[in-house]
Symmetry: C3
Subunit: 476 residues, 3 copies
């Protein structure tokens, strides 16, 4: 092999030759393991319809990817020129590029912006390992790459179900609204397809009284459960009912996004007073914080009772730019992290349920300062707690390195929960797991060479990190 | 030597061959230096009685070690099954395992939980270097290891005083309550034994008005000084009197745990009003914070006057789980760090005493974000300040690496205070100092190979880090 | 070459041989590039007068360097003994050492304090590369080094303008008070000298109503613009007028120091009420915070209009020790960082101007926890934002490593702004840029060896980091 091809084969391993050699050996033991994807945002309709396709290369790689859109926006590229359609249909401002080959060219012209970023690494790996395109994307080859990917995407073996199997996905969990009919999941089951795809119960839309469209979400949930939801007890029982339905459809977990980890048990009267204000459109930020904290307590209680694994994702201030939200909507790259606190905020919940292993609570943070200071000490004590993998901006090579460096010594490996890809970008699933497996192997090789773990233990730990921890953490 | 034995000999050094070679050379220059242990929690009675022993292997390694207990608890192992006796005698819940060999087996069955943790490293090193057991502890060899350690512990050369000498401990400081009679220290001195063991003055129990048993602690202190303590001035003079006694018994330092670094000088009337409320059991959290801050100011003034080195340990929220505290008491692994602040909180104290080198104030943090942001800049300016070594969860290989990376450039090495083992686990003392010496040597080798310090300077710095800095910082 | 000289030639590159080899190759491609110094504190009078000299070695290296003074102070060395003159002329306390050769000896006697610090590295590099003195400064050679440096400083080729040219400085920006006449800049221009030296508009003295001497600064500004400034609108128009003047004198940027990133648009009445209180000497801390936040909004608006690049430096609590400030004044080493917040604080400004690329706002932080959590996500979204280089205490080898590790993956390289030396120490300019170029090359080599970027891309990125990014960020 040439030096360059060695670099590709050993990519993401550290430069030290001795460590790299051990890392490669560890990696080879886990590179081909099935993928457990217990948290993500793949649209289940892609897998419900055997004939579904990914559309154009721009629709696969560019238009739905908030990591890529934000970076291009930050350097002055108009999203419309990339083929993104504003919510209002593009009545004002730039014209929407409908020629996706031209949108792709614009993307390729700016590909240098992604140097040394996860997006750049994922794209290169996807083109290489999924589509067989070894040459890095550039202005010069943009059209040819577009055409080659287009051609592949038109083939049956590049349909979602075919790739699901080729990627070796053992289990894939989607994320679904509390009121969702799970029609796509039902269709999958009824189609006789063997893929293990499970819904995840995410009630943020009805739990956060200041969420956009909260009133509509409540109405939808009311309609689904067949009764009005005007009091907290009705909301709670509706959620319980929906959880039972999700469980019957294979769900193993719930998911909750919260700006902070604040929890509090409100009395019924107080909770209902907030609900009443919210229904009148008069809820304050403090109402939202307290009601959300109250619901987290209720949801933890439900998890103790029904065994659904509870996930809390903390610390994203959503839609930082109102103008951008107005034009393009949510999840387009303008969510910005804030500092988080767990030790005091979560204490009421942990006092009540933390020593009870029938609760399984997985915590995710965007504030890395909490890894060593709060999350690892908490998870290293409370039986109910596990720490989720490096999340979002930290799902990166350096993010993984910081996570392993700061979490494991205090929490221990066995209080973590393996890897989540957390993606809606289907073709990035095997790539993201591969980055994690490489990063894990490299970290473990460092432990071996420092005499901290034996080589045999390192192989065991790599297997845990690639497969077992996630499977056990999510009770699969 | 085999590859494996090389890994053991060079353990904790980095994988790069050139750096490792320099690191080994530096390490060899300090590996055998005497141990200065200026801050720790060894029970002085172990050394007061020449016939004292460590008990069973479980009593030595398992039952008193909160690092180990918390990790086992986090994975659902009942502490009682490990031989831990609840405070209430175990009336409810699991039965206490009194067969320590079976408790040890349970520990060994779960030893995988400690992979890549400091506890796992310390245990392996203690078994190897103190007890001559090279094979890692496992389910399979648990009984044999137990028996081998038991046999050794029964020998005279494994009694605490014998190990004190074998370990090369030059000075050991214990931590003692303000009202302590220091009877064990007196007995040591009177026994004619040459070991240098010194008490440390820790008045937390009477300074924190919300501490468990504060009223009893005040009463005990009153009894010891022979006068009622109902006003702040009486508390202050009692503390001054006890400091003088501790000094006469060899103490060189005081120690103070505080949730935050807040300090404030209260007027006498205000301080007394809080004291009065506290005596009635009516003190608030704010009272405790302000009174504690006031006492830190008073204690700093006393240090200026009597020359005792002042240590402040900031940022642990003690006894996070009330149910666990109720059952097992304090210091059992359920203390969780919180974010800390020094720049503003400590300012009143530093305004008054910070430029006066007759105060020696050593700061410890559990919030690593304060290393580069606050502690290093403060210690790099104020003559009174030194930064304590990486503490508690951060007394680990990665913790040391982060500390050296983030502290030294701004504070300089000479505003740090060497290493503390901070342990009650006697056999871990030489191990923890050895980890520090290896980590220091590895860090210094990295500086040499980057051309930042000369090899000769690196040897000098390693000696400082292993020995001199601690000795000077604590005015020994 | 000997091992030692190799270490010097490859200094600051990592120890791995393969990475070092690639790093050296990358470094060689940028080592000799011209220096863009868009933010710093060089006194323009040094360059205005062709005959200006640097004075004695103590005046060059020691007396004006707050990094060095703070460290010596922290270890009990009196500043007066180093030749520093107190503001009150030294009426009380230690006598001022007027023999600079003896001050230098004292500095050299304490040079060990600077081991492994940026100050130590800069000094060694300056002596070696600027003055040709290879032997490290020591007690023993202090006098000889002093004499050798003195002799060089007396030569024409060591005058500021000569060194400016020898250092290859393409552009140097100074920092200047809003009311400054820019006489030195004018003199430079009129002298026909070709050096590109530009002023930077820094109005902190009139914007921060609690700044020392605020009233005097307002009076001075009033005098300069020829009208009384008693209302906010008058202050705003005065600033606009001065910005126009600075622009006419070549300024490309403004600079703003703020304790926090708080911004807020006050109504005119409210702003004027604060101004009125301030003029009466009755402004509160909250007044200062809000008025300062209001002025940042106004200054951002002005930048949108006049195109001056806006720099905000956040998070230094100035003059932490009042006694020290009283004796020696500002900028003497007693400024201490505090935790910072950008996501919420800056939001009003970013809502208004953040998506507008005609604003160029460069943010600097002393709180590294904000790199990955706030600054990189913000700059990776908002077209108006760029992240400044590692600042002050973090302008160090480890600081750069942490910065690159935590910023680039999320912000991308192209949302950073290259390097600033931010120094008043003229001879350290090429050294600091060299450290950055070496650190960049080493980081890039790591990316190459991990297969993350190609070698060709690494060369391009190194060039950007050394030169282009700064030039474009500052619209030069």
């Amino acid at each position: 092999m040439t030096v360059e091809s060695n670099l590709v084969a050993d990519r993401y391993l550290g430069p030290d030759a001795a460590q790299r050699s051990v890392a490669r050996d560890i990696y080879e033991g886990v590179a081909g393991l099935p993928i457990i994807s217990p948290h993500g945002h793949v649209d289940p309709r892609l897998l419900a319809d055997p004939e579904a396709t990914f559309g154009t290369p721009a629709e696969l790689f560019l238009i739905p990817d908030h990591y890529i859109l934000r970076m291009l926006h930050s350097q002055g590229v108009a999203l419309e020129a990339l083929g993104v359609r504003p919510r209002n249909g593009g009545s004002a401002g730039a014209e929407v590029q409908v020629d996706h080959r031209r949108a792709w060219q614009l993307f390729a012209d700016n590909i240098f912006l992604f140097r040394a970023t996860p997006s750049g690494m994922w794209l290169a790996d996807e083109l290489r390992t999924v589509f067989g395109i070894d040459e890095p994307l550039s202005s010069e080859n943009a059209g040819a790459v577009y055409d080659a990917v287009s051609e592949k995407l038109s083939r049956p073996e590049f349909r979602p179900r075919a790739l699901f199997e080729r990627f070796g996905i053992e289990t894939l969990c989607t994320t679904d609204d509390a009121a969702d009919s799970l029609q796509a999941h039902r269709a999958m089951r009824e189609s006789g397809w063997s893929g293990d795809v499970r819904p995840t119960f995410r009630p943020d839309g009805v739990v956060n009284v200041l969420a956009t469209g909260w009133r509509d979400s409540i109405n939808t949930l009311s309609a689904v459960v067949g009764r009005d939801i005007t009091r907290t007890s009705a909301l709670v029982s509706a959620l319980e009912e929906r959880r039972a339905f999700f469980t019957s459809m294979g769900a193993v977990a719930t998911d909750h996004a919260a700006e902070t980890a604040y929890v509090e048990s409100l009395g019924e009267a107080e909770a209902d007073a907030i609900m009443t204000r919210a229904l009148k459109g008069q809820a304050t930020a403090d109402d939202a914080r307290r009601f959300g904290g109250h619901m987290l307590m209720e949801l933890a209680r439900m998890s103790v009772e029904d065994g659904l694994v509870m996930q809390i994702h903390v610390g994203s201030l959503r839609d930082h730019s109102p103008a951008f939200f107005e034009r393009f909507g949510a999840n387009m790259g303008a969510d910005i992290p804030i500092a988080s606190e767990f030790t005091r905020n979560l204490r009421p919940l942990l006092e009540r349920f933390g020593n009870d292993a029938s609760l399984r609570l997985i915590l995710f943070t965007l504030d890395e300062t909490t890894y060593a200071r709060e999350l690892a000490p908490l998870a290293g004590y409370y039986p109910a707690l596990r720490i989720g993998p490096p999340w979002w901006f930290h799902d990166s090579l350096n993010g993984m390195s910081r996570y392993l460096d700061q979490v494991i010594e205090t929490a221990g490996l066995y209080n973590t929960s393996g890897f989540n890809d957390d993606t809606r970008a289907f073709c990035s699933i095997p790539i993201r797991h591969d980055v994690w497996r490489r990063a894990s192997s490299n970290w473990l090789a460092g432990l071996v060479l420092r005499g901290i773990v034996s080589r045999s233990d390192a192989h065991t730990m790599a297997h845990e990190m690639a497969y077992d921890l996630a499977k056990r953490a999510y009770r699969l």
